[in-house]
Amino acid sequence: MISPVRIVFEEDGKMFALRRYSEALEDFSGDLLKKRSVDLKPTEKLSLFPYGPSAGGLTESIYFSLLTSGERIEAMNYDTSFKDRKISVSGNDIPKAVLLMERINGIHSASYSSLFCDLIERSSGIEVSQEIMDLRILMMEMERISHHLFVAGRLSGGASQNIGSMNIYLLREELLRIIGKTFGHRYFFGINKPGGTGREIDVSNIYEKLESIVKEYTEIYRTLMDSRIFIDRTDSTAIIRDEISAGPVLRGFGKNMDGRSQHRYYNKLNVRISTVDSGDSLARYVVRSEEIFSSWEIIKKILERNSRFKIMEEVKMDKIQGTGEKISGYMETPSGDLSMIVSVRSGKISFFKYSSPSLWNLRVFADAMKGNNFADFYFGLESLGLCVSETGDIR
């Protein structure tokens, strides 16, 4: 199967496309994926249930409208435009663009800024050392564990496993404190820079702490999978089997696809990809949990060969001028594949396009909720690990 197209743009009357897990632009012909439009009209039997944009239970502002007979969802629509910050990346100089990149999706800032820095480096021909790549991988994998723990906590809390949920939040907070102490910031802000890093980072004494967190999560995971209530609630809810989905959703229905497996950064790290066939909320939870373990395997390898990352500035950020050539790339964020196209001209970003995994997952989720139980909406939503902030109109 050909990978689905993630970004399409037009230039000089020609259409170009970037596919999932691809670093090469290709000519695009054919039809564009239509904008999802579902007409929700309340009838005698079906009524419209609005949820959001600001309501309890939502981590970020998003509006859902559910057409429902009460028990069953007949159709669903969503609107992410409420909290659209309308950020303009192009036109900024590189230092500011990196700061913006960290803040497109704050909880996945390491993935965003790593990909962005990688593209800038490639566009100006900078070769970065293995050490910088290792630091980026380390950050992205810790970010993945932190995000997956958050989703696991939300999902188990939603399935009334409150003790389990609190135990998971406890681990996540422990992890965030380790990150905060080691990296200077709980969400890795201000570390990634094109051609270098911003801070000196000492990772010599985090191994044991991380190991105990993963070990404790293994116990919690086993206990949760023994819980009949948790399984009952998440099993066969919000079944998604759509190829255009991203990340754990894709792997949740048996697709053995992970951006990390082919990526240059993860070369020789032997990323273990876990898949589950059923495609439901439980499957996505299992995939996430297994990813916590595989991320830990990667982190172990990184920590074995590095104990301290010095401040590295192989090229000063403000010296990068760029050629105006469009460089494209991808990265596997905790939610799925992130694709990005950047070009730099005379020290400023002249072109920026990206495709966020949340947007794709939200689209397939909206279609998948049809026919589901109304009360299962929450499990489906939480199992996606959605980040509304990255779905905004960012150019």
């Binding site: 704050g106 907070e173 116990e219």
Partner: protein, 209 residues
């Protein structure tokens, strides 16, 4: 069931005694930078003026390093008034007007056992109609102006408006401040603020510190 119980016993008490005790952790760059050595600094949000850092503007980016270093102190909380009537119990409504997601998660972290917000008489509520305080995060976005106004209007007095994070206080790097449409009772600085900073701000606003 048994497994959970034994786990809890094994884990012991992890809850912080903050604010009566000391805070166990503090993310360095969530604190206000202090000048360490001389030199020009190009602050992207113009937070630095004459060696002083504006806590409402600082986005914890670390570009001022090494001229500036984190102070490792809980920053000063700017607030308009103290609402003592809410000192026993306060219900919080989380309002996201345009965040990157980090501030929201840091507020939600108050729920985790390390902070255990319930010991302070705090809890989250699902509707502003029942809330005593609204925690606004993120820059002011066009789509959220009407909901934000509606939320503040539908709260009963006495109410406290918290602006959490640099984006809400000053607009940060990429937008407008919440102060354009409402008065800010309490400003919680940081990008994002550390949960301990949020706890400190809440406790100060209720006159408990």
């Amino acid at each position: 069931m048994k497994a959970w119980f034994l786990r809890s016993l094994k884990k012991g008490i992890v809850t912080s005694s903050f604010p009566s005790g000391k805070n166990e952790a503090l993310s360095p760059w969530a604190t206000l930078p202090m000048r360490d050595m001389s030199g020009e600094v190009d602050c992207p949000v113009d937070a630095i003026q004459d060696d002083r850092v504006d806590s409402g503007k600082c986005i914890s980016c670390g570009i001022c390093f090494p001229q500036f270093k984190p102070s490792m102190q809980i920053p000063q909380i700017n607030m308009v008034r103290v609402e003592k009537s809410l000192s026993k119990s306060m219900k919080l409504y989380l309002f996201d007007s345009g965040t990157c997601g980090a501030c929201n998660l840091e507020i939600m972290a108050l729920n985790s056992p390390q902070y255990d917000m319930n010991r302070l008489g705090l809890s989250f509520t699902n509707t502003p109609r029942q809330a005593d305080a609204i925690m606004i995060t993120g820059v002011l976005t066009e789509g959220m102006i009407a909901p934000l106004k509606a939320a503040i209007d539908s709260m009963a007095s006495p109410k406290i408006v918290f602006a959490v994070g640099a984006c809400a206080i000053s607009g940060g790097l990429m937008g407008k401040s919440i102060s354009e449409i409402t008065g800010l009772d309490v400003q919680v600085p940081g990008c994002p603020p550390d949960p301990f900073v949020i706890v400190a701000a809440i406790e100060k606003a209720r006159g408990r510190i």
